[in-house]
């Protein structure tokens, strides 16, 4: 028996009762067919990634963490004083506040649309279009992240962390399926994803292993049983 299902724009569920007679015995079978619109799976995963964010600023969490580490090092090294450090923090926050507010609106809309998709009221195409719009906004935040990191290029270079001039074009801020987060640092050019879901930066970028919580943490060897 073959069931054929054409192109889908939503998941479809059907049940069939099939009765067969064999050797005079009637056998009833229930078939549940859940046709999953598999092409929408990555779209839904990405939207759920947005839904799971603690806030819209979390898409830039990794850029900001690296910037904060650089800022602390500048302060500890007496390259800037505490007032300059605070002024830089304020500048970053002011830059991001408008962008994240717009993204928050986008995220709320697309989560509503995902619920509509699950009810069969919104098509995959419409959902994808909305996600593209949201990702455009995320990329805009990525530009802001690039500008922030640019301002720390001097101290970062002393830590062997050197990015290309067009960072957001070369390593765009995207949803990384492997790391299950928005980041630009899960790119193969930087290192590799481990089986436990962590990421190990290549040796020349080892400093970043100590920066990011998703990177394999530094460990202390224990030999005794």
């Amino acid at each position: 028996m073959t069931f054929s299902i054409g192109q889908l724009e939503n998941d479809e569920a059907s049940r069939f009762e099939i009765t067969t007679v064999s050797n005079g015995q009637t056998i009833r079978n229930i078939i549940n067919l859940n046709a999953t619109n598999t092409s929408a799976t990555p779209t839904l995963a990405e939207i759920r990634g947005l839904q799971a964010l603690s806030g819209p600023e979390a898409v830039l969490a990794d850029d900001l963490r690296l910037a904060n580490v650089a800022l602390e090092l500048e302060y500890l090294a007496n390259l800037i004083d505490a007032d300059q450090q605070q002024a830089m923090r304020d500048t970053i926050n002011n830059t991001l506040s408008e962008l994240t507010a717009e993204l928050a609106t986008d995220i709320a809309q697309i989560i509503d649309a995902m619920r509509g998709y699950e009810r069969g009221e919104v098509t995959e195409t419409n959902l994808r279009n909305l996600l593209n719009d949201t990702n455009t906004r995320v990329l805009g935040l990525g530009d802001a992240g690039e500008a922030i990191l640019d301002s720390f290029s001097s101290i970062l270079s002393r830590l062997d962390v050197v990015f290309p001039d067009n960072l957001n074009d070369t390593f765009p801020l995207i949803f990384d399926d492997n790391l299950n987060r928005y980041t630009r640092f899960g790119n193969d050019a930087f290192g590799q994803t481990n089986e436990d879901g962590t990421f190990t930066f290549d040796g020349n970028l080892d400093f970043l292993n100590a920066v990011f919580t998703f990177a394999r943490p530094a460990t202390v060897a224990v030999t005794a049983q």
Binding site: N68, E72, D196, F207, A210, P217, A218, V220, V222
Partner: protein, 595 residues
Amino acid sequence: MNYITRKHLLGSLILAATLGTASHTHAMSLLSPQASDDNAKAVAPAALPGGQSDTVVLMILREGINDTIERENRRVPASEADAIMAELLADPATISVEKAGIVTTPPITQPGDQGNVSAQSAMDAFAQSQARGPLKYNDPLYADQEWFDPTQEHGLRLEPALDRLSFDRTIRVGVIDGGFTASVDMQYTEGVNLRSVNGNPRGPNFLNEDIDCSYVPPEFELSLHGHHVAHLIAANPNNALGMSGTTPNVELVAARSMNCGNNGLSPDIIDGIYWLSGEPVDGVDPISEPVEVINMSLGGEGACPAAYQAAINSATSKGIIVVVAAGNERDNADNYYPNNCDNVIAVAAHDTRGILSNFTNTGTTVDTVAQGSLVTSITPEGNPTTVGGTSFSTPIAAGVIANVLSERPGLSTAQLKAMIAESGNPVVEASFRPNLGAGSGILDAMKFLDAAGIPRAIVAAQSALQGERERFVEALSHPLAQNLLNEEVGGDACSLVEIDGNVLPNANPSDPLTVFAVPAGAPLSPTASNANILAQTEAGRMIVSTDTLDAFSNSQFGIARCDVTTSSNCNQVDTIRGFNPADLERPAFCTVAMR
């Protein structure tokens, strides 16, 4: 019959295409509570009467009216279960039908748990406890509860975190478990029995003393699992009795969903979630007020059942945080529920050395790790004992989460997970202990409170790697960072001290901040003729090197926020504070790893 809104379930339910009479969304198998070598005293599910193995309970979810989901638990003869499931699934309104599985709480001791601690390690631990200084609480067992101890190299550091919290607001924590007992060291605010077996009806009697547990054969121990879980969260602190709970101002609510021998059925567990969330549940009065945190130190093997996910989604939609155990099978935690359900915070276990516990599950679904080996607790008689398992790392973590929520109510599960992701310290990797994923590592309460925006106390001087900078300690102590600091300030991060003028709130912020030294015994004044000005800034804080301070032996040190050239605004009340470099705490990293 009870109802939840449909939106709680959508997105979590996957009906696989199935053929034949065994149609159901998730097959749950009978579980052995533990690996056999870990379970000498465990009560096997089949060993207890009342299990009614000739029947099974079907957990049914249907589409209800007004976009709701109707749930029903139906006990049916086991021999007819598959046929009945097929009948139910033939109804288009049926969303899922699942056979209820048996869920277990594991034994409260884990054989072999940290049995390889060397004598030297034990001596080190003793020396560490002696170096701890005055204790926060006077409970006799407090000094043995390592997760409070700020000097533990691989610990939670709960004691200093508690000092940052006001506990003005009482928080309610629910525990779904079994084996609750009356105690002189803690009180249950309310509770219910949801496990109806052997003539013990559902209702308000949830303590072991009020339940007929005579069906448990004498060779098996009566469960005390919930007793220990509850005490780890809510034992009264500072009453000179027993132990200290992690959460000082807490109302503990018990949902007894397990029988007298550590086993329960999924529908009773799920009803526990609904009851604690304020939803009506058959057979018991409604809870007086929903809890804010639910602790589930229990589990079973398999994918997250749809009925569980629906209940958890219902709870989280009300802002309730569900904290669950990763499991004790030394296996992949991703294969055990409710650890692998969405919208939960999953907790694995470490031992007192910071190594993952011998028994703990690990995996990509784990969020954090807390102490689960050699966990100090008390017996119902008030005697000290130790327990082990992720069952007990979970309430420690749940208690800390409750503490944060007491100060920052309304934080969502997603927000807390993001904070926890920033609040860990690495577990100590050991070649003999596989790690399939331990989340952000060992939960650090101080970092957790930082992430939650709960301020630390302002001090005049502290190590530059302490305070909120702790969250970057790995990066700031990386060899490349150390090289940079050596080039710029002639020392590594461990040799730097931060001076904070904000400790002088009444000072004029436009006045410079000065570090000075005067001979021991002299008046502490920056304008005295014998005062040496060591550093000065127009900013509110500054970094100085310990070398700068060490150059002035037999001196006393102070900070001043005033004009030291004219003495304008300089006075001991508002603008001058002393500090003793010998009292500065050095981060564990600096004292252990480097020095």
